[in-house]
Symmetry: C3
Subunit: 250 residues, 3 copies
């Protein structure tokens, strides 16, 4: 392990919870390098957290530990997980947050037991941070708990065919109003007709290929089709959001 620990939560920063987690990590292992991914996931939005974790984890060098805690089920029977995949380590609640990691690399998980004296409502500090510190220091995940083989996984939105139409959906709307879809380049016919919100969207290489204010589709930085407006917001112009349909015909 390389001593890097990334942090991904829905805690915000203004309550001090993210600060307490950082303190707990550094108290357990003062030499760690902490890297904020975000604390601004919408409260309880596990799908958004899974999306961001899915995008970011592989950007980091092998040996990185990822603390990913968006945990609306804290204080219920949901399990707390330690895991390894692709040479990285993870701690996360067992609520689907690791779905995209597990979809991209073989993942082994264990159930973290709560340490003596752990609070019932702040497992980020009391359960996940100590486990993340141990993983970051090189502890094998197997010693942290019993193996879990029936991980909770989010249903992955699948592409649907209706006659000549291929129907995907918006997986994520980013800060710029761009719609990131689950349609990969390999799914598209040679001369695709892309429709979103009742509008035809031309497929181009990038923004520069259309005038300002205009809709454009391109293969984005996550490797899937994105729909954007140059110098504008596609979510607003099309009235579309997460889960909405995007249609492709030849």
């Amino acid at each position: 392990m390389n001593g890097i620990v990334t942090l991904l939560t829905d805690y915000g920063t203004a309550d001090g919870y993210a600060g307490e987690v950082k303190g707990a990590l550094l108290r357990a292992a003062p030499g760690l390098t902490l890297v904020d991914i975000t604390h601004d996931i919408a409260p309880g939005d596990v799908a958004a957290a899974a999306w961001v974790l899915g995008r970011t984890w592989r950007s980091f060098p092998e040996g990185t530990t990822h603390f990913a805690v968006v945990d609306p089920g804290v204080g219920t029977a949901r399990r707390a997980l330690g895991a390894v995949a692709g040479g990285h380590a993870f701690v996360a609640p067992d609520n689907g947050l690791l779905s995209l990691v597990a979809g991209a690399a073989a993942l082994e998980a264990v159930e973290l037991g709560p340490p003596e004296g752990a609070s019932a409502t702040f497992h980020g500090r009391d359960v996940f941070a100590p486990a993340a510190a141990r993983l970051a220091l090189g502890a094998p995940h197997q010693i942290l708990g019993r193996p879990v083989s029936d991980l909770v996984l989010m249903a992955r939105p699948v592409l649907r065919r209706e006659g000549k139409k291929l129907i995907g959906c918006v997986m994520h709307v980013d800060r710029f109003g761009t719609l990131v879809t689950n349609l990969a380049p390999g799914d598209l016919p040679r001369t695709p007709r892309i429709q979103a919100g009742g509008r035809d969207v031309p497929l181009r290489m990038t923004f520069g290929d259309v005038p300002a204010g205009t809709l454009v589709a391109f293969v984005g930085s996550a490797g899937t089709l994105e729909i954007a407006v140059r110098d504008g917001r596609a979510d607003v112009q099309l009235g579309l959001g997460r889960g909405d349909e995007i249609t492709v015909e030849s």
Copy 2:
């Protein structure tokens, strides 16, 4: 000292003030480890800053320096402080921000003189950051200024008794809408009847003990009574905020 400096401000990040402070710290001591607690305290909300500092400082290892600057009185006669408590060091304006630290550990403070050429309106960069860097490098606080024995302390909301009723209050509302109170477990009768916003709130161990959408009281991660709604917001459901009363009877 361990070279860790935490940062807690109401600067936001978009103006560059937090960035200038980080630069000033690293210019004074390039090897420091900077850790953001938050820059999102509401402008001038000293009580919220004191709360977050009170929660977070002890999470960090001994030898940590805490830069805590929410300073609506900058440019007035309020004093600038350097301090030590419980093996940690602090810089903060003398406006009550250190109240909860001083309530938890013996605190010694000195008044920081403004360095030559300091601006009159950005003491974070020009007064507090240089002092924090010196403390983090191991300078004894006594050499930074004259002792202060009459620290400004916020009045601590005290519990009140009215007949059989014990009346506490909401100290903090967190991002999830949970109400953190000043009622400790030891204050509660054996079978307490907890009332908030005119509603009875059952005391349980944690969220999992009530159905979704339901009010629940539990001893939270700060060691005091909290009132929450499972998968919801107690502040909205009860119409309560900071300072509002919570009542307990047996």
Copy 3:
């Protein structure tokens, strides 16, 4: 170079883009020290980014590398730059973002070519981060691309004279509602009459020189005239924002 890399973007953090950039930097050079300046520049607000970079870069020790990417023109013909100035290194799009740096120190820039396989829409991760890592590791900027001598620079708002009046403008409105102007102390007559939003504003040393709720002008921490309201917001009280005029007469 000192291994410090600062980050200044309009990415927010909730989409994972800032996280991917951090990962790319650490994968290229695991020992780097990453320092967030901000990810909260308003989407596409190059002028605000230039302002924040102009304030912050010199606070850091010489040898620091600054990753500054607010890039509404990504995917168009705008150039990607690597640069050095004043002993610091920079990566930024060629859209004016480096204007204030270039105004303060001799700047040499090169055009970064996109690495093989770079996405067309996420140059922060694929073009700027690898170049920043190389600069931070000590690569001379000249080897990163061809020299650029016709940098895009923002028009700098100049002071205007109308009879006895000197007319400047608001360069930035900060989180506290304070108006930062482009009027330097040397521009002011001995006994200036300062007018903003139709109101006279007294020139003082700092906040403490006026009662709460009152307008005050002072020479701020950026070395120029600022207009504020003690314990209030000047932007709201005066109805002024970025670009609005501030007038001085003797």
